[in-house]
């Protein structure tokens, strides 16, 4: 209860929450406001925003409604962000927990692996993964998750290192509890809060990574993604710059909302660190 009160007392956190709710509302209402396929032809191409009352954000170079693409794009961005974050957090937790709990050789091997992933530029690895496994929305999402796990893994490992010899763990070990139950039943729930807060950073980066891939036309071309629209608008940047400008603002607002909420949660749950 205290945490909620502390959260609501911070203006940036509230602004973030409001923005996030707006983006969520856009995602939920997309099918209802724009019942037609957002990628189908809607009218004359390249109409400026407000020029035609039917298209209040205008149309893109192939005559598709930009507003519809923005609303459906909210779905794609949130979906990819959430699933990719889940993938990376699960991989990160498993690897970090094993490395932190067992230590020794397991730790060395797993940390070498983590280091290798961190030495390799993550966007480059993403390009390789997309080149190898193709670029439909499922593979792109999993690939983004696969390149983002090292940081959560390190965080989980650090938590496990500090928790594994605490009294409650020893107390659970004495009656002969098995390792896996100790790791996932006893230690993990205590190690989880900072990892969950960090998930907001992973999610913000995941949304940005997907939009960059889509901008380079390496993401799924058959979904209404904001990055796709920006890439498309690049061809008409000289005169009709709004085609690229509008979806970019949508990405900015979404990523900002996710990071503000994450920051707010962090401050609310760790009040001692506030003001840093």
């Amino acid at each position: 209860m205290d945490a909620i009160k502390r959260y609501l007392r911070s203006p940036p956190a509230v602004i973030g929450l409001v923005l996030l709710v707006i983006v969520l509302a856009m995602a939920l209402s997309a099918g209802w406001l724009f019942p037609r396929d957002p990628l189908s032809l809607a009218g004359r191409p390249l109409q400026w925003p407000m020029a035609n009352p039917r298209f209040w954000l205008g149309t893109d170079n192939s005559g598709r409604d930009i507003a519809a693409q923005i609303f459906y794009g909210a779905r794609i961005s949130l979906l990819i962000g959430l699933v990719a974050t889940l993938v990376s957090i699960v991989i990160g937790i498993v690897i970090g927990a094993l490395a932190g709990y067992y230590g020794g050789r397991t730790d060395t091997v797993l940390m070498r692996l983590t280091e290798a992933f961190q030495t390799l530029p993550n966007f480059l690895l993403l390009l390789v993964l997309v080149a190898v496994f193709g670029s439909n929305i499922a593979t792109v999402t999993i690939a983004i998750g696969v390149v983002s796990w090292p940081a959560p893994a390190r965080l989980t490992r650090a938590e496990f290192l500090s928790l594994r010899n605490r009294e409650f763990v020893q107390a659970a070990r004495t009656p002969g509890m098995r390792d896996l139950r100790l790791i996932f039943g006893e230690i993990l729930p205590n190690a989880l809060p900072p990892v969950i807060v960090y998930a907001s950073v992973v999610m913000a980066v995941a949304i940005l990574l997907e939009s960059a891939l889509a901008f380079l036309r390496l993401s799924d071309p058959n979904v209404a993604s904001w990055g796709n629209l920006i890439g498309l608008g690049r061809d008409v940047l000289r005169s009709e710059w709004y085609v690229s400008a509008i979806p970019g603002l949508a990405i900015l607002v979404t990523v900002l909302a996710v990071s503000l909420v994450g920051q707010g949660l962090n401050d609310a749950f760790n009040p001692r660190l506030k003001g840093r």
């Binding site: 966007f123 480059l124 939009s211 400008a245």
Partner: protein, 325 residues
């Protein structure tokens, strides 16, 4: 000398990391649909199966995966990255042509982000929770949330199309031949927008870290002692607080080197710069797997080199690191 041996030991420890990366990526690329011979055959306009078999034998592609991997690693020891069928040149040559533009972009973006991140972070920390701090922190959050390719496009709209201050792309003007100082100035003019585009995200990260670490160091005992000795405020901030607050910033350079190389893929394709990032993008599109593997290798080397330099810098800023161990 102790600094060098310490950093050298860390450098030696990164050899297995590079090996791990290369083996991993090599095996991963075995899953890729089509090989070099397929790409070459497509370029030649097709051919019969016998020719394909001959070519596979010539390039050693008919061997087992393990043997191919062994061959690749052995060639790598001699710094032979193979041959790019698409560019018709050795991969080393292709990469060497593209590396300077990327390094130039990375260094200028990093300097920009580091310098302004430091200054803005110090200003924000000095006026904590007053309006300059709020303004700087808000701007930082917004920069962090801005997709870099979009920022680049909008910068092109404003500064190249409407104001016409800077060129919209390319590394230098190809319509006129410039030499000496004029060439340097011309390249600098072309690099302004890419530098800002790549730098702004890191600026946001650096200023946040700088602000946090200034706030932390500001309240330590030795700073109070320095004030009590009667040192003036500037001296306290520069000599005592700043020097210690810089440590996390330097760590961050090493950590961010990889993501910065990744970011240059996008920025280079927005501004059509002939760099390593765009080469990576092109080789993904054209299935030029030899080149892609070479780029992975070279970028891992760049990241490790940056970390080596960071280690040296770190030891210089904090003498305890070398004397303690």
């Amino acid at each position: 000398m102790r600094i060098l041996s310490l950093a050298g030991r860390r450098l030696a420890a990164s050899v297995p990391t590079v090996l791990l990366i290369l083996i991993g990526i090599f095996l991963l690329l075995q899953f890729a649909p089509g090989d070099t011979v397929d790409a070459m055959m497509a370029q030649m306009g097709g051919g019969d199966a016998a020719t394909a078999r001959e070519l596979r034998k010539f390039y050693g592609l008919d061997l087992s995966v393990a043997a191919q991997l062994g061959n690749y690693l052995w060639r790598l020891v001699r710094f032979d990255l193979g041959f790019s069928a698409i560019y018709g040149k050795p991969v080393v040559t292709v990469i060497a042509e593209r590396l300077p533009a990327t390094l130039l972009l990375m260094i200028s973006a990093l300097s920009f982000a580091f310098f302004f991140g430091l200054v803005l972070g110090v200003v924000a920390a000095r006026r904590v929770n007053k309006w300059p701090d709020t303004l700087i922190s808000t701007l930082g959050l917004i920069f962090y949330a801005t997709p870099s390719f979009w920022f680049g496009l909008m910068a092109i709209v404003v500064f190249s199309i409407y104001l016409q201050w800077f060129p919209p792309g390319g590394l230098e003007d190809i319509t006129t031949v410039n030499t000496g100082l004029w060439r340097v100035l011309d390249i600098a003019r072309h690099l302004v927008l890419p530098t800002l585009t790549l730098g702004f995200i890191y600026l946001a990260i650096y200023l946040r870290i700088m602000r946090a670490s200034m706030l932390e160091v500001q309240n330590l005992d030795f700073v109070r002692t320095a004030r009590a000795k009667g040192l003036d405020e500037t001296r306290v901030v520069v000599r005592h607080v700043l020097r210690n607050a810089l440590l996390p910033m330097v760590t961050l350079i090493g950590l961010q080197a990889g993501t910065m190389l990744g970011g240059s893929v996008v920025v280079e394709s927005v501004f059509s710069l002939p760099g390593l990032g765009r080469l990576a993008y092109e080789s993904v599109i054209q299935r030029d797997l030899n080149t892609l593997l070479g780029i992975v290798f070279v970028s891992a080397l760049v990241v490790i080199a940056v970390n080596f330099v960071t280690d040296l810098l770190y030891a210089r800023l904090d003498p305890r690191i070398t004397s303690g161990v």
